[in-house]
Subunit: 274 residues, 2 copies
């Protein structure tokens, strides 16, 4: 029957996509949080570490490995809404930002079958995680992240939580339009292609962390300028002179009339995002 001669109604009712094979569609979320370490000196401010949430797999495949939180897309939600729901369910916290990272669709990426994933990076403030509390025996834990380029051109991704240390070896495949993709050479206890997703997300986060707007999502509503500065320094792994940082960030913040107290040094004024 010639399609052009059908009415739209006739056409839609006769339409059947089931004859095409379909992939399962999931999302994986790289949830970033900046964790402050314990003070070793009452006067010094605490050091920060960038960390991500991983879940220990209790089922095959990759049983016992650590994986990104995520799950299947439902028919009544958008991909972003799905990511929001999954990270809320798994971490118990609400992300303040969701950044699309890309689609991971290598045909063999999942041994269970044809499963593609749209990855997101999310940003979660330490404050909201503290409110939920943590459970040391839980299958979901925050791993400190370290990502360094070696001399031979490969990159080592190290994720550590207490005694657990996961190390993956990756090789950069190229940067296009602000997204760097990686080939996994060794996965080191990280499930599926998640080491590559993490590396891509971290690279993307570093890109956007030059933009001050992104930094606020890591902090509570009121913050000091040095806390904001430490967020950027932690993500980008750089050192900034406070005077210059204050000058540049000044147009993005408004001061409040509150101050910190109890630190072993001059109190700092609290600011809000403008």
């Amino acid at each position: 029957m010639n399609n052009r001669n059908q009415s739209e109604g006739e056409y839609l009712s006769s339409y059947d996509f089931s004859k095409y094979e379909k992939p399962s569609v999931t999302t994986d979320i790289v949830a970033f949080m900046i964790r402050s370490e314990e003070n070793e000196n009452y006067k010094m401010d605490s050091k920060n570490r960038l960390s991500i949430l991983l879940v220990k797999r209790a089922v095959h495949p990759f049983l016992g490995n650590w994986a990104l939180p995520g799950g299947f897309l439902r028919p009544d939600e958008t991909m972003e809404r799905c990511a929001f729901r999954e990270i809320t369910e798994e971490a118990g916290v609400t992300p303040t930002a969701l950044m699309p990272i890309g689609v991971f669709s290598e045909p063999k990426r999942d041994p269970r079958g044809w499963i593609i994933s749209n990855a997101y990076a999310s940003i979660i403030s330490e404050e909201s995680v503290k409110q939920v509390g943590g459970d040391d025996a839980s299958d979901a834990q925050w791993f400190d992240i370290d990502f360094a380029k070696e001399e031979d051109g490969s990159s080592i991704l190290t994720l550590s939580y207490e005694d657990i240390k996961l190390q993956a070896v990756l090789r950069e495949e190229g940067t296009k339009f602000g997204r760097t993709s990686f080939r996994i050479e060794q996965s080191g206890g990280i499930a599926f292609d998640h080491a590559g997703i993490i590396a891509t997300a971290l690279t993307a986060l570093r890109e956007v962390a030059r933009n001050y707007e992104t930094l606020f999502d890591f902090l509570p509503e009121r913050f000091t300028l040095s806390a904001l500065q430490r967020v950027q320094e932690t993500i980008l792994n750089i050192q900034i002179l406070p005077a210059n940082f204050r000058r540049k960030v000044s147009e993005y913040v408004v001061e409040t009339d509150e101050y910190t107290q109890g630190a072993g040094h001059r109190p700092a004024k609290l600011y809000r995002k403008k």
Copy 2:
């Protein structure tokens, strides 16, 4: 049966994703080309217009409307490879770059059912399109694109090809991490949610067009610096002083010993991408 007690082999063979409903997965490609208009004066260089490829729908739904080229993901290819294949099939030309735009997954976006789309922007040089040739009666045509913000905050997307003029009204929903999303208020003869995809892709293209690396993909291997400058000016809709453009772009190009000829003015040296 407790999953933890199964071997991986037992588990994989018993695994069945068919119990979950799956979406159909497609890609849509916003193929950009810079088209040079006819000279009205033998001395003047031709003006440039940014254009995109649209295909006239010959079937329901949206019969007779214009849509982005695209198609279904196959089990043996990645999303990006799928986009490459589809644009090659439909335009007959090979894109020099594919930029991920985002996933469009509103549950009701396609009246045929649950179909999500990963959109890409591709960049195609006018030279390669000219080699293929055009067919005025063809269902695939290059539409000049115009996108302007109105006083009331809405944006008008105008696509024109000869007598055909498609006009969509969109409203910005916000910019996050360099991707601006739009709500479609009037689609004006553009099928599905493609007006929104086009607007998002154009906004993203403008973002990356500040980066000189992107500009080369619109041109043949050897080009003049003013051709390169006109590419950036056309995309960003701005005017740049030639002296300043040359200075900034100089570190990205290498000069050849060839020159243009036949223009009604001083010949220009041809350059290559460094």
